[in-house]
């Protein structure tokens, strides 16, 4: 038997909304990287534009969380779910911001030929997207195992970032003409690295949501 059904329904809706937001963010990452690889400025602009929708959704979910806390006095798991939602939307929004930053960097690079074939950066992006996907699955299914996997994957992103960083420095030193684009790519890499960090953060919250334990894993 279950009571407070309408509250639980609202909670389900909240979760659904959050997963939708996650999906949009994931799409943003994917699109921004595709825009970079294909130097597709149209797509990059689209990413920048779509960011508003994500921001709006964040505010909506946030308001819903606060309303649910004020109106429904959630406790235990319900409270943890809402608190988690309240916290991770910020991370999601920042991930989206970074996707946006990447797209902006694309626009800055424009159609000029790339100084090197992009291998590691798309790979980082793929990894980061995978992490986010896993985190969202973890949220949907209360799967704490997936959340731990997310945290582990972050190490790989970090090491790729270091590699890209060193590589790009080399390119810059080789030819000052590369500097402008290399810096852009440098920032793109660092954005992806941060996306990994945010996702790790997010995963930590998911672990809290399921187990009630708060641990910092990205140190």
């Amino acid at each position: 038997m279950e009571v407070r059904r309408s509250f639980h329904e609202e909670l389900q809706q909240l979760i659904a909304q959050l997963l939708m937001m996650g999906d949009m963010v994931e799409q943003s990452i994917a699109k921004s990287i595709r825009a970079l690889k294909e130097q597709n400025l149209e797509l990059a602009r689209q990413v920048v534009e779509e960011d508003d929708a994500i921001d709006a959704l964040e505010l909506e979910i946030e308001a819903k969380c606060l309303e649910l806390i004020a109106r429904q006095q959630p406790m235990a798991k319900d409270l943890r779910k809402i608190a988690t939602a309240l916290k991770i939307i910020t991370d999601l929004e920042r991930i989206a911001d970074h996707a946006c930053n990447i797209a902006e960097a694309c626009l800055k690079i424009g159609k000029e030929p790339l100084i090197k074939p992009l291998v590691d950066i798309p790979r980082m992006a793929e990894l980061a997207r995978g992490m986010l996907k896993k985190a969202l699955d973890s949220y949907a299914n209360n799967d704490v195992q997936l959340a731990y996997e997310v945290c582990r994957a972050d190490d790989e992103v970090d090491s790729l970032h270091n590699q890209v960083f060193r590589e790009l420095l080399t390119y810059m030193m080789q030819d000052p003409k590369n500097i402008q684009q290399a810096t852009s790519l440098l920032f793109i890499s660092s954005y992806l690295e941060r996306i990994g960090d945010y996702t790790t953060n997010l995963a930590e919250w998911l672990i809290y949501m399921v187990t009630g334990e708060r641990k910092k894993l990205n140190d």
Binding site: V3, E67, A70, R71
Partner: protein, 257 residues
Amino acid sequence: MTCSVINQVAFSIKDLQISYGKEKVIKGIALDIQEKEVTAIIGPSGCGKSTFLKTLNRMIDTVPSSRVTGSICYRGQDIYAASTNVVALRHNVGMVFQKPNPFPKSIFDNIAFGPRLQGVRDKQKLKQIVESSLKRTALWDEVKDRLNSSAFSLSGGQQQRLCIARALAVEPDVILMDEPCSALDPIATAKIEDLIEELRKQYTIIIVTHNMQQAARVSQKTAFFLTGNVIEFGETAKIFTKPKEKKTEDYITGRFG
């Protein structure tokens, strides 16, 4: 004062004042109560919230010393006009009380009481009304095999749902609830709250509660009463997250006076 029909407004209250003897309990309030919504009325003891509720179906008439001035328009008609038929008003505006108060009759007869008053005699018709009322309060499955047992054989929460079903059986438009859960345990309370949520799709509900959290949970609009005045009236979500008035904020957060 004249009343005009306003769309989607069940009650339009203007300048309402109520006194018991010399004591003024409601000091001039105005409210428009939307249909198909749950409107919660909160406030500290003695703020006049129960008194206010009782005027809406004129149950306050049973208090000998009470005096009501101002206008309460129900669907465009002044319910305190001389021509008003109180019985018809109460058919339209049902009421659920603080303590479950089933009649000492069978479950069936409790629910059939209202329709019978209205002249329904046909057995088949009555059965149908009883069944649909019980279903609407999610009580049918629990009691369908013992419609002829005494209503007192039910638990407190079931009794209260029976009373709601009894009110529904006369096909009201509005249901007034006067702290309907204050005599119930938390689980029974939660069930009633779920039921209220269900009912508001079809009925206009006005609920007085001294439990702020309950108001927050079940209502769409909340009115905060203080010493006979309406301090704030608006969206429940707003009232409980960012009330406009300092007095509301203070009451809600436990700082007042």
